[in-house]
């Protein structure tokens, strides 16, 4: 039965435009580097095959540059056909204003709720029971990357978790090696959250970020997190803090630094440099403390359009993005995990396989921060942590209190 329904929708949304005329859909996104562009090309190829045309509107600079442009275009009455946008609370205003295409019918017909996992990612696309966006991949931010050779040269066993990495720091520093590389800005916020997950645990992280458990935010579990961050800032020389996350990863690749904490997208940098996981470097999910997986990811929204041909093409694109073939081809290029469990990913590298394993178990998977807290509050936490890192006169206790106050004031 399901297959019949699916086939019917596919006929309506895909086959018809082929027999009618091709519709051009402009797609805005911020994937502009080599690997990202190759991944987008897979989408474009598959979409063009439906008889429509993918008009690429790449705007680099992540949400910071693209967001005002996307919202202005929608407000001005000249929306793009489809757009990448951070899911979760950021997009809710646009949906509430009735500016986004409702995809519920398509999602029900294709049974996205069953074929796409994890549930949390589908939830972020759902508002009041209706589906407004298509999740296309999963990215997780909780990884520690270490250069094995650097440790071996120093006569230290490559660390398998955060505590061992900290313990090895003094010896490395003596040899003129940066024990932990760090980039200015949001990577500091990422490190903070990763340490919360690793030290206070997934459940407590969700309790504070999602359920706003203030006792927990001010309690001893989180105090331990701020002590750990205090240790980290003591071993980091401010002169070695670099401007961008990929500069920090490059330091590890070149052997100038021993370790870095970054999301799974860092794996692409190691791959490009020809380093092999498990031999040249280690990737440790959950900072090696506990294998966990946050489920951030990229999603596409479809601004409402009065032209029914455009709407038809939008549905065709949404449907195309979650097909098996496209999911495999896209995610292999992007270095992210596919949304579907029923695809063959034998071509994936070791780090991706580690991630898939955690995902399949499903026990230690938790929602992305932007699904629990609004971007404004997350940025305020980043501000506190940046100051804490660079100003050693701020005590861990003071930083914890500032952190808790932001959680307390955050809109539900």
């Amino acid at each position: 039965m399901k297959m019949m329904k699916l086939a019917a929708v596919l006929c309506a949304s895909v086959a018809l435009p082929m027999t009618a005329y091709a519709t051009d859909l402009e797609v805005t996104h911020w994937w502009t580097s080599g690997g990202e562009a190759a991944a987008v090309a897979e989408f474009a190829k598959a979409f063009d095959a439906t008889g429509n045309k993918w008009v690429d509107g790449a705007i680099a600079g992540s949400g910071d540059v693209a967001r005002p442009i996307i919202i202005s275009r929608i407000l001005g009455g000249n929306p793009m056909g489809a757009t990448q946008l951070n899911p979760g609370k950021d997009a809710d205003d646009l949906i509430a204003a009735g500016l986004m295409q409702d995809l519920t019918e398509l999602a029900t017909a294709e049974d996205w709720a069953t074929i796409l996992r994890p549930k949390s990612q589908m939830d972020s696309c759902t508002l009041d029971g209706k589906v407004y966006c298509v999740p296309v991949n999963l990215h997780s931010g909780q990884w520690m990357w270490t250069n094995r050779k650097v440790y071996e040269d120093a006569g230290i066993a490559p660390p398998q978790n955060w505590a061992e990495m900290i313990a090895a720091a003094p010896a490395l520093k003596e040899k003129g090696i940066i024990p932990l590389s760090l980039a200015e800005g949001w990577p500091i916020g990422l490190l903070t959250e990763d340490l919360i997950v690793a030290i206070a645990g997934v459940d407590n992280y969700v309790a504070v970020y999602k359920d706003r458990n203030m006792e927990m935010a001010r309690g001893p579990e989180f105090a331990a997190v701020f002590q750990a961050i205090d240790q980290a800032r003591q071993i980091i020389d401010p002169k070695t803090v670099v401007p961008q996350w990929n500069d920090a990863v490059a330091l590890v690749i070149q052997g100038k630094a021993a370790a870095n904490v970054m999301g799974d997208w860092a794996g692409g940098e190691f791959a490009v440099a020809g380093l092999v996981a498990g031999k040249d470097f280690d990737c440790l999910p959950g900072l090696g403390v506990e294998p966990v997986l946050g489920t951030g990811g990229d999603v596409f929204y479809f601004p409402k359009n009065e032209d029914p041909e455009v709407t038809k093409a939008q549905l065709a694109m949404a449907s195309m993005m979650v097909t098996k073939e496209v999911q495999v081809a896209f995610n292999l290029k992007k270095g992210s995990l596919p949304m579907r469990a029923d695809v063959d990913l034998s071509a994936a590298n070791d780090c991706m396989k580690k991630g898939l394993e955690i995902l399949d178990k499903g026990t230690k998977v938790f929602p992305n921060n932007s699904q629990m807290l609004d971007r404004d509050s997350l940025n305020q936490i980043n501000d506190v942590m940046k100051e804490f890192f660079s100003d050693l006169t701020i005590t861990p206790e003071a930083a914890q209190e500032q952190f808790a106050a932001i959680i307390e004031a955050a809109p539900k």
Partner: protein, 300 residues
């Protein structure tokens, strides 16, 4: 009130003095030393653009490479990928030209005439508006983004070239009006009075007397506007519509890509290439910085 604008652009001062006169040496030393400070970043950019990525990673930023290569320049101009389109900066070039030329002309025309009205034919409403403009020049641009979307939408020009010309005129207005108002106000008053006694009207005085006397300040205005508009990225993307995307969209995409290996050499080449147009205009229009125009006009 006859005056010749043909003679006005010829410098009327003495010929440059010999290079080695005492005192001259000091002047040239100062000029050259300061030039070095200004040139160091350009030097770093150029030598970086001639290196390959390994040399950038390993080498010192101040030391040039022994095997320079122009690959990064070719890539920046015609091959760099931004999203799906691997066409470099080249395709946006003409869009940038079509945005810049009318925007510069319209914004300078509106502002110079407003400044002229304020300096020489003032009236209360204009003076009040001018005060508001001056305060407005301190507001960060980003605050205007959404209101201007609504205004241009209501004017029916959103997502067209007209919208982006309008927006550049708006943002150029405070500084340019001030520039022209104050420059016109600093010119000898006798000129204006004499012209009115001769019976010259508003436009005649403006075009026949003030404009020819104000070439240096028009040059400064052109420098300001060409730079601002040519390098603008945000307004072009938001107001001009996707068919008119300027070259800076590609520049932003080359420079701002967050993931993957950073191609610093291509970034540097793309920046210099994008900057060549304003640079050329600075150099060419510089000859209008000449002394003696005012004197020439009085005598004429």
């Amino acid at each position: 009130m006859a005056m010749s604008s043909a003679t006005a652009i010829n410098p009327s001062g003495a010929k440059p003095k010999p290079f080695f006169a005492p005192g001259r040496v000091l002047i040239y030393t100062l000029l050259i030393v300061t030039s070095i400070y200004y040139l160091i970043p350009l030097y770093v950019m150029i030598i970086t653009s001639l290196k390959d990525l390994d040399q950038i990673r390993e080498g010192n930023i101040f030391i040039p490479t022994m095997q320079p290569s122009f690959d990064a320049w070719v890539k920046a101009w015609s091959q760099a990928c931004t999203g799906l389109n691997c066409t470099g900066l080249a395709p946006g070039f003409w869009n940038s030209v079509f945005i810049t030329i009318p925007s510069v002309i319209v914004s300078i025309a509106v502002a110079s005439i407003s400044g002229y009205s304020l300096a020489n034919w003032p009236f209360k409403l204009a003076e009040w508006c001018f005060t508001i403009l001056l305060v407005g020049s301190f507001i960060p641009y980003q605050v205007f983004l959404y209101p201007l979307v609504i205004i241009t939408r209501e004017m029916g020009i959103y997502s067209t070239l007209y919208a982006v010309i309008f927006v550049h005129t708006v943002f150029g207005l405070p500084i340019l009006t001030l520039l022209f108002r104050n420059y016109f106000a600093s010119l000898p008053e006798e000129l204006f009075k004499a012209a009115r006694v001769d019976g010259a009207g508003y436009w005649r005085i403006f075009f026949r007397i003030l404009v020819p006397m104000s070439l240096p300040i028009f040059t400064v205005a052109v420098i300001l506007q060409v730079t601002g508009i040519w390098n603008d990225f945000l307004f072009g993307v938001i107001y001009a519509g996707p068919t008119n995307y300027p070259m800076t969209v590609q520049l932003n995409n080359i420079v701002n890509s967050l993931q993957g290996v950073k191609e610093y050499n291509v970034e540097m080449a793309a920046t210099i290439l994008t900057g060549l147009v304003p640079l050329t205009i600075y150099f060419l229009s510089g000859k209008y910085f000449v002394r003696g125009i005012a004197a020439g006009a009085v005598k004429g």
